[in-house]
Symmetry: D2
Subunit: 341 residues, 4 copies
């Protein structure tokens, strides 16, 4: 591949965990030139000084904001909810493609957004055009998108497990999702809950019924299956760094259904979603791979969605979307296995 064809990419908000993970993936992506990262607090510093694992992989310095957006092909927005929608409209006007990793463009229903996020949505126009960036379910939409709303980590793990069954018509509407997440999902800002002596030997349920991924899961499964589920969602923090297991409980309606076949038909040809007998978190950690598995207990299907919250649950999925948006091999730059051990 010749140099001219490299996609020029930038990251707004390159200091946090999703921004840093994006820089890790993009700095070795064979088709990408990572040309800019912004960070107010680190302005002027080498990216490799702030993220020492990137020493030798990038010589870019953080800037306070993006210049020359017109020279770029894609901008990843890795700023907090509410902040992203400040910069997205301007970016789109320049013609650059945008992938937003916050929650600002995920919920199509503005009233729902404002209820769950607690503030007014200030970019309803672009919200209309935004595509929910879960490639295994919405691939063709992503290919044509100018603005992708990258899914949440919990949401991705649960949607992968629920959507095919909901679409098959074989399960009831009520779905219980009991998720267990590693701590990196909570971001890089120290807090009492993430303080090691507090969480290092604890299992911590939180935001039961109030977590923002609840309406996101309901919407995405609904869009895919034409049937919106009623979700009870319970996240738990557990002392691992990377990784989510979402255990999903769905009641079978009672008709004949081959659950394994439903999943197989949905994911049999996918590179990044495998149907497994026994979920294995360490098999996906460090990679863009996800696993889906299930057991049937009486009339209940217990399904698992397993992934690395920073890769398939965030930055890796964003890269996967970028690959689609630019008609590249969907696996480019992501084609490596999980750590295993």
């Amino acid at each position: 591949m010749v140099c001219e064809s490299l996609i020029k990419a930038a990251i707004i908000g390159g200091t946090g965990y999703t921004g840093s993970e994006l820089s890790r993936l993009l700095s070795v992506h064979p088709n990408v030139d990572l040309v800019a990262l912004t960070s107010r607090q680190n302005e002027g510093k080498l990216v490799s000084e702030v993220h020492p694992f990137l020493k030798g992989y990038t010589d870019v310095r953080f800037t306070a904001s993006l210049d020359k957006v017109s020279d770029m092909d894609v901008v990843f927005v890795a700023t907090p909810h509410g902040v992203a929608m400040e910069s997205v409209p301007g970016l789109l006007e320049t013609g650059v493609k945008v992938i937003d990793l916050s929650g600002d463009y995920r919920l199509k229903d503005i009233a729902l957004y404002e209820k769950w996020y607690g503030h007014v949505h200030r970019d309803p126009e672009n919200l209309l055009d935004a595509v929910y960036g879960l490639p295994e379910l919405f691939r063709s939409d992503i290919k044509g998108a100018n603005l992708v709303a990258n899914p949440g980590c919990y949401a991705t793990s649960a949607i992968l497990a629920i959507a095919p069954l909901m679409k098959s018509g074989s399960i009831e509407d009520d779905v219980i999702i009991d998720s267990k997440s590693g701590t990196s999902g909570a971001g890089m800002v120290p807090s009492p809950r993430l303080h090691h002596p507090f969480c290092g030997e604890a299992i911590i349920p939180y935001s039961i019924g109030t977590h923002r991924h609840t309406p996101e899961i309901e919407m995405a499964v609904g869009m895919f299956s034409q049937k919106r589920p009623n979700v009870v969602f319970s996240p738990h923090l557990v002392p691992v760094i990377r990784g989510i297991v979402s255990t999903c409980y769905m009641k079978l309606k009672g008709g004949p259904v081959d659950v394994g076949k439903v999943y197989e038909e949905q994911y049999g040809n996918e590179t990044f979603v495998s149907l497994v007998d026994e979920p294995s978190m360490r098999s996906v950690v460090g990679s863009n791979h996800a696993e889906v598995g299930f057991k049937i207990v009486g009339d209940t299907v217990v399904s698992f969605g397993v992934l690395d919250n920073l890769v398939k649950g965030a930055s890796g999925q964003a890269v996967q979307c970028m690959n689609l948006m630019f008609n590249m091999d969907e696996a480019s730059g992501l084609n490596f296995p999980g750590l295993g051990v």
Copy 2:
């Protein structure tokens, strides 16, 4: 209390985690003299050599079997399922009281035992008389018992959360229990699943729908509430050493019910079960205390049972039962707080 009144206690199977935890608790119990522990592999060794944390707390040596049972007041049986029922009948014949920490005397229905445990029950007579040793629900029965079947760790955590609501008549029969346990619950024998590089950064669902605590929970809740639930039980291993959080999902029937009041009436006067807003595993770890908490999400009650699987989930509860069986202060030897940090 004068010296003559010390209760003479022995432990059969003193090497494993429940046996070792029992010896830790009994060696400082103000009303107990721990006179004997058996272990075939450690016969002749000082208990404090095998369990170095007991140095200075006991000078007993392991024996291969119990002599002079007639001199004892209580024997704790901490051997594996299927092995316990070999020794229990003989012990009971001598007149000693017995607390069995295995699953052998928990399920009143022999057919159910044989289905879930995979072998014939060889002591159906004593099974009839065995009392399920969960003091907060079956206190008066325990006081008069000669044989107590000490509950399972997962079972205790779930039953505490479910039983009061089921008894109140306010919830449907179908109950989903999603449990997360520390690794000490799996015992002291090394195995691939408990190998640190395998489980140290993983969340591992296992035995979905096939775990033996399923019928135990159904039975115990049924006995207490006169209403047997249908349980879907999913245990998960997480990388902490001690502690269980069981997240229980129950659907409200729809009539008026004050869930908090139901729990408060059940546990308001209990020493070892607290009703809390936010569960805190570290508050109970190292102690016999348990916590119950809940959230209501739509028509679903999400309840938590939290405890230390080796104490309230096993050996501490056994000591609590012993205290009741001998008309002592129920909290004797257990009256200390969890680690907190």
Copy 3:
């Protein structure tokens, strides 16, 4: 023991980890009545609300400051370095005995204090009378003390391993101490270094050669052995919550010496320090017990000091000192074994 004889104790700074651990120990101490705890941020709240593991063990509320000090027998000062010496002089004037858990009264040499702590010492008079509170080495001094400077956690673990050998005259002056500590030693305030995603799978050397326990170890070993060592001290943070292992390297002078006998003579009769072949951190965690062990490699003695940094390394040792200061059984309220598992 009759009620009148209970020692009235208070804690200044009851919110942090050492204060909370003190409250855990004192609330079940058979000879102590914990009458007051201060906390500006939690003024008016129940202690058991802030520290939920104390529910049922104390009904005291936090106050902003101590009233009626004259009614008390002992005050534990658990405030940060530099703050403690603000309150200690006033307390001592009332005649109450004081145990300070900060570093303010540990270094007898004011110039050394000001060099390592970076500020002026404002209470040099009481510093003269303060006794270094390591009972196994300075028991008789502690018995008569009005002000005890409770040792640092790292310091205790290293001093126990080094002091007897230094006193025996068999080792050179240069000592290397490589310590590994659990994260609770760093206190309860969240920080980037203690953020779980940062430290949960990392080994973090820090403050090499600049940690304040360096001069403390040199001083305490020097006082005990009449020979001040030259210490190179390297602390490391590892992802456990409680526990320190200090690995100490000392060069033998070459004359005949029985290292095991030196330790045995020093600690053979001690309740809380055991000489062991293989150190076992879990045997001491949760308790006031410490372990010392050693190997000889060529002409180097590699010695270990192992303890729970919050108990024998802080609050437990403070209680042990209190017991001595009030002529009680030294082990009162501390006479229970470590967790083991």
Copy 4:
């Protein structure tokens, strides 16, 4: 590079952690075709069934032994010490290049081997020709080698920190190495020490003065610097999965020396060894990168070697050696950053 030029590689002992990590690296190496893996216990099974993270990356099945070695270019031997030297001579006779990851060909001195490994060396001839595979120190030798003895994980971390200073002539001969390792270094076979409830919250010193990497470090530093150090080596197990920090204590002779410059001159142009102010284990975990850093405390240099024990400490370094042996880009297949988080 065209397809015909792919190097055909095989792994003997493909089930264990080093074998599995090799398969993870080689299956995505752009210049390698991984054609065979042996495993007696998994004979006939798909590699991707045993190592599920390789699903989609290899369709090779395990065989009991290697056929058609003559078709291969390189064989990695990942069997235990003592077993490797059974297969190496036959492999070399076929003309294939061999990289042995065991300790069988590391110690040039047969007497030393037999003393530390406890059995006779049965292939002294090939031992003579084996090259110690630490590229940063012995690059030119590795390029011409037919048999490479891949270094141990602890050894690599310590040698990188010690060798340049020893060669500079500025330090004394006595070196203390205090190493802390993640648990994956101990291999995949479950054992009491690696059982999660035992090691999950513990710091475990072991094999003090008796670990086999002691003579390996002495030999390799000696070969490189023409000056053999006297090493006291203390390994410790800590509850992380991947990663080693070796803290090395060396005494400066006293002449003028710029320690930073010594390291900079040695590693300034290296791809995989960085000189850092603050070591960061998470920056190297998952990658072939290592870090070296130091502090000077009085006349003592405290140096750190940091790496991922399974990559730079084992399988990654083996791939780096292979790249050199076949005149490829030394970083081929290894040119990706550590996890960071």
